[in-house]
């Protein structure tokens, strides 16, 4: 692989933003982006899970390849991600109960966030080495947080404006996401 770590980071953060260009992690993106106060912590929590998952997936992939058990990859990845989410949940519950309650159901749902499994799968498919994997997952997580925060800020403003009642709700969020995605297309080619 000739891609430098910086290129991978920029690519994952902007040009191939996980949410807006690769459609990963849309459920929390549409679900938690109502308020800025919850959007940012959610992004950070997801980024942390992504880093842990990417780290474990890297080691696990070496092990599975060594034993020739590639067909177990998917199952073992998902088990690792579930454990990582459990860990984050316990830490949050102990240190910030308010945040724990605010994130509610979306916290355990990080397990089924395709962005997290996506990181693990993509880094395997692209045969990234250790440094590349870590920058890729960090860039992806930062990109996810960025998209979530942008979306939440726009939606906070929108609660004050006069939207036709037919368009309120998911339809409006999707249109917004489309416009954001259009803006992010401007970054194409930035990562080289």
């Amino acid at each position: 692989m000739s891609e430098s770590a910086f290129q991978i980071f920029i690519n994952a953060l902007l040009a191939n933003n996980f949410v807006l260009a690769m459609f990963l992690g849309l459920c929390p993106f549409l679900g938690v982006s109502g308020k800025l106060d919850t959007a940012f912590p959610m992004g950070v929590a997801t980024t942390f899970v992504m880093l842990v998952a990417s780290l474990c997936a890297y080691g696990l992939n070496l092990l599975l390849t060594y034993f020739g058990l590639e067909f177990l990859r998917l199952i073992s990845y998902i088990v690792i991600i579930a454990s990582a989410v459990q860990l984050v949940e316990m830490v949050l519950k102990k240190y910030s109960p308010t945040l724990f309650r605010a994130l509610g159901i979306y916290l355990p749902l990080i397990t089924t966030n395709c962005a997290v499994l996506g990181v693990a799968l993509f880094q395997t498919a692209r045969e990234y080495d250790f440094i590349q994997s870590m920058t890729f997952s960090f860039g992806g997580g930062a990109g996810f947080t960025l998209a979530l925060v942008l979306m939440a800020s726009v939606r906070e403003r929108l609660t004050l404006s006069d939207v036709p009642s037919v368009a309120q709700g998911t339809a409006l969020s999707l249109m917004l996401a489309g416009i954001l995605s259009l803006a992010f297309m401007g970054f194409a080619g930035l990562g080289g």
């Binding site: 807006l20 459609f23 992690g25 499994l117 037919v166 709700g169 998911t170 249109m175 259009l182 297309m185």
Partner: protein, 210 residues
């Protein structure tokens, strides 16, 4: 179980609780693979297969699955079937496998499947669970096709790879790019909201006239 109830159970997923348009679940594959109708159809079929098989197995094992670890059990069951589908698609059509990419493996984290396993299959015997799952799967496929066809027609001027318009057609490229997915799904939701609103108004008119 009577005939009509079975039919209701099946139709529920297709219309009243359509996973794409009503429940807005499983968004990631919905938007990512629907650049063409063929991709949308194969993704729908693959998901339906996993959905039916997993729901059947979840339903069969429901009496002795411990409550505390049930989610983990479901995930492992789903992941098993997804691995099978993954290898099957790879064997049947490599071009399709490349087009769908990681999204075949990402069926594991499709909320529709886990949702069905938890909300329906875990509480019902295998046959109704499978019928319900089949309905949901077909509903999901219909939703994917609704997006895939619109995006392919607008963005490539073709349907199932067959060109529809003459050589003078200027493709609306943004429709097959990521933003198009958001716009088309948003437009479909708008349409359904508008229709629903009209129905409500008609019903209200009838009520006031009486």
């Amino acid at each position: 179980m009577s005939q009509t109830k079975t039919w209701d159970e099946f139709m529920e997923g297709i219309w009243r609780q359509n996973p794409v348009f009503v429940m807005v679940l499983g968004m990631c594959p919905t938007l990512a693979v629907t650049v063409s109708a063929v991709n949308a159809l194969s993704m729908g079929v693959a998901t339906t297969f996993v959905l039916i098989c997993s729901c059947a197995l979840v339903s069969l094992t429901r009496s002795f699955t411990p409550k505390e670890v049930r989610i983990a059990v479901y995930i492992v069951i789903i992941a098993t079937f997804v691995t099978a589908v993954d290898y099957a698609i790879q064997a049947v059509s490599l071009a399709l496998y490349d087009a769908l990419g990681a999204f075949i493996q990402l069926i594991v984290v499709n909320c529709i499947i886990l949702g069905r396993a938890e909300a329906h299959a875990a509480k019902h015997p295998p046959l109704p669970a499978m019928i319900n799952a089949a309905g949901m799967g077909v509903g999901f496929t219909v939703g994917l096709l609704a997006l895939g066809t619109v995006r392919e027609i607008l963005g490539a001027g073709a349907l199932f790879g067959v060109p529809l318009f003459g050589a003078g057609f200027q493709p609306w490229v943004v429709m097959v790019l990521p933003p198009g997915g958001f716009f088309v799904l948003g437009a479909w939701l708008l349409l359904f909201a508008a229709l629903e609103r009209r129905k409500q108004r008609k019903l209200a008119e009838v009520a006031t006239n009486v």
